[in-house]
């Protein structure tokens, strides 16, 4: 007789093994490793959250203490390889195969482990690709999640750090998997329910509150004049020109400069209400002055940010907020928002080649993709028009074709050189060399050139939509590559022609004097300024407090 319900049977077996350590759903912290050894089987797919920000750090430490004779050859399918313990799992042979998305904090450890054969790489995904595969062929057998609190029924409250969890847990719970959550505390009544207890099997109250990376805080004091100049050009030459109201900013000092120029430079240009009103954005502290000045209608966030809880609570008109008054984030929905509901993505990168392909990979550093490739892509499935989308679409073709489509603006905002004199503009991406070295099927490209519509450097804006040949594209890029080798090899005559056709626009062409780009233009010049803008509601993390 065919067995069509084997998953349910195996699930019951795992639960029975786990219940030996539980009182109801609750497991004492000292029994956590034993629980994991009982419930997880060798070769299981596990998701140990591993989000962009919040980390199930206690469960990670407990899993890393497991006996490799009992737990081995696990297949890790999680967004982030962030904690040292995530790497330990592979070093110890507890885990073997890896499918993931982002490894910024472990960007040197991952290639080392690949080289030594400790990690067998499935693929590096974007966030939503990985979540999508949770529902097709990479469904986790066990999910190790993290929440602020739980009640005895297993309902979970995550507050602003909801992030990946709903997607991870839905896939796991509805395909016979086991869900274990570490929480800061177990209470009688939760402020709100983010995950229904139905989907949660075991709870562990961790000895310390879970760790959250402050990834989206940028100190305005570190923003340079060059970044301010490029930001001014982006505002005047792109946001104003196309009328960008719905947008997504990647994180970085250059985009932080744009956020801090809205209440000052953009205000002087009369752009309030005309641009930057509806956002898909993590809670960047650098957007506080623009919010306080009335620029922003609403923001949906992928995750949260350390120190922003009280401010967001007090600004519930702006942020998505639960009945309890605290913010609720969703990586999945915000990624969708960035793909289909935003008219512009703008972000930075480490390398750009002559086709406009960009990458953050270098010879010994693999940071993964995160969400940028999706945010920085033209979503071909989009159908609803908007003015910026149609305008960009028209620029990309000649004449008036009958079957038209629009284009989402995908803007790379860079300085010609990054730190230590390393050029951003290159003839060939380091990524190609890395692909050969590690025998990858694909050279990791963050954003493909044919999705890019504009590149902005301190030398000017290159509008790739208006280019008609690869040669024009190449010279448009060389024409804003400054004093890099790539820039110095430009064809000066051709660059002049492109400038006349407005494919290249210099600051002067936009009416901007480069010497006017000054730090005094920023609405806030320090973290303390941001705190004061927020009426002291924003509580900057310790590492940013220099007063």
């Amino acid at each position: 007789m065919a067995d069509w319900q084997s998953e349910q049977r195996v699930r019951e077996e795992r639960l029975a093994a786990g219940r030996k350590f539980a009182d109801g759903k609750i497991v004492a912290p000292d029994n956590a490793t034993a629980l994991l050894e009982a419930v997880i089987r060798p070769k299981d797919r596990i998701c140990l959250e591993g989000d962009n920000q919040k980390q199930a750090d206690f469960l990670a430490a407990c899993l890393a203490k497991a006996d490799p004779k009992v737990l081995h050859d696990l297949h890790v399918v999680q967004s982030g390889i962030v904690l040292p313990e995530h790497i330990d799992l592979f070093e110890k042979g507890i885990a073997k195969k890896l499918d993931y998305s982002f490894s910024g904090p472990q960007s040197h450890a991952v290639p080392r482990a690949l080289k030594s054969g400790k990690i067998e790489l499935g693929a590096i995904h974007t966030y939503i690709e990985l979540f999508a595969r949770y529902f097709v062929d990479l469904t986790p057998h066990v999910a190790l999640s993290v929440a602020r609190s739980a009640d005895r029924q297993g309902n979970l409250y995550m507050g602003p750090n909801t992030e990946d969890s709903p997607s991870v847990i839905e896939a796991t719970a509805f395909k016979g998997g086991i869900v274990i959550a570490q929480v800061n505390e177990i209470v009688d009544k939760l402020p709100r329910v983010d995950i229904p207890g139905d989907r949660v099997d075991f709870l562990v109250a961790a000895p310390k509150p879970f760790y959250v990376e402050p990834l989206f805080t940028r100190d305005p004091a570190s923003i340079t004049e060059t970044q301010i100049l490029a930001a001014m050009m982006a505002i005047k030459g792109i946001y104003a020109e196309y009328g960008i109201k719905r947008l997504n900013h990647g994180i970085g000092f250059n985009t932080a400069a744009i956020e801090l120029l809205l209440p000052t430079y953009a205000e002087k240009l009369g752009l309030k209400g005309k641009i930057a009103t509806h956002w898909a954005l993590n809670p960047h502290p650098t957007l506080i002055p623009a919010i306080e000045s009335g620029w922003v209608k609403q923001i949906h966030s992928f995750g949260s940010e350390v120190g922003m809880d009280a401010y967001m609570r007090a600004r519930s008109d702006i942020y998505f907020t639960g009945r309890d008054g605290s913010m609720a984030s969703s990586r999945t929905y915000c990624q969708l928002a960035g793909l289909y509901a935003a008219d512009l993505f703008i972000g930075s990168t480490l390398q750009i080649d002559l086709d406009g392909n960009s990458s953050t990979v270098t010879a010994d550093r693999i940071a993964g993709f995160g969400g940028a490739p999706n945010m920085g892509s033209d979503a071909h499935g989009r159908r609803h028009p908007s003015e910026p989308w149609l305008k960009a679409g028209r620029e990309a073709v000649d004449g008036h074709p009958q079957v038209m489509r629009g284009r989402k603006l995908v803007v790379q905002l860079v300085e010609t050189f990054s730190e230590k004199m390393v050029p951003v503009f290159v003839e060939k991406l380091d990524s190609l060399e890395l692909a050969e070295k590690f025998k990858l099927d694909l050279a990791p490209v963050m954003i493909y050139g044919d999705d890019v519509t504009h590149i902005v450097s301190e030398e000017g804006i290159a509008n790739l939509l208006l280019c008609r040949t690869t040669e024009e594209r190449e010279q448009a890029i060389r024409g804003i590559a400054g004093f890099t080798d790539v820039g110095r090899r430009r064809d000066r005559k051709m660059v002049d022609k492109l400038r006349k056709r407005k494919i290249i626009r210099r600051p002067e062409d936009l009416g901007i004097n480069p010497l006017d780009a000054h730090r005094s233009m920023l609405a806030a010049r320090s973290i303390e300024d941001l705190m004061q803008w927020s009426g002291n509601l924003y509580d900057p993390p310790n590492k940013f407090r220099n007063w």
Binding site: T416, F417, E458, E459, G482, F483, R488, P514, L515
Partner: protein, 103 residues
């Protein structure tokens, strides 16, 4: 330390009355630029002291572009470089000549 020296003939004298100006600071990623109006009308001299070797061609290109853009005739420009990027060098040179053009 490496020293570099470039001599250019500018199209005309740099306007303004200032005799001397200094801009920038010798720090990592930064540089200080001292400008002195001490040379004949169209002469321009740029002397650089830098701790980074092998960037001669880049310095040459930056200085040439600056001279072409600004026509800093009569200026002796001295640079103490802290390892600044070329765009920062160019910016400081432009800031310096703007200070010198003040009436």
């Amino acid at each position: 330390m490496q020293t570099l020296s470039f001599r250019h003939k500018a199209k005309r004298r740099l306007s303004g009355k200032k005799d001397q100006a200094i801009i920038g600071v010798v720090a990592s990623g930064n540089l200080e630029v001292l400008l002195e109006r001490v040379l004949p009308e169209t002469a321009c001299e740029v002397d650089i002291a830098t701790p980074l070797n092998g960037y001669d061609e880049t310095w040459k290109a930056v200085v040439a572009e600056f001279v072409e853009r600004t026509s800093p005739g009569g200026l002796r420009i001295s640079i103490n470089d802290g390892g600044a990027r070329p765009d920062t060098v160019y910016l400081r040179l432009m800031q310096g000549s703007a200070l010198m053009e003040a009436e």
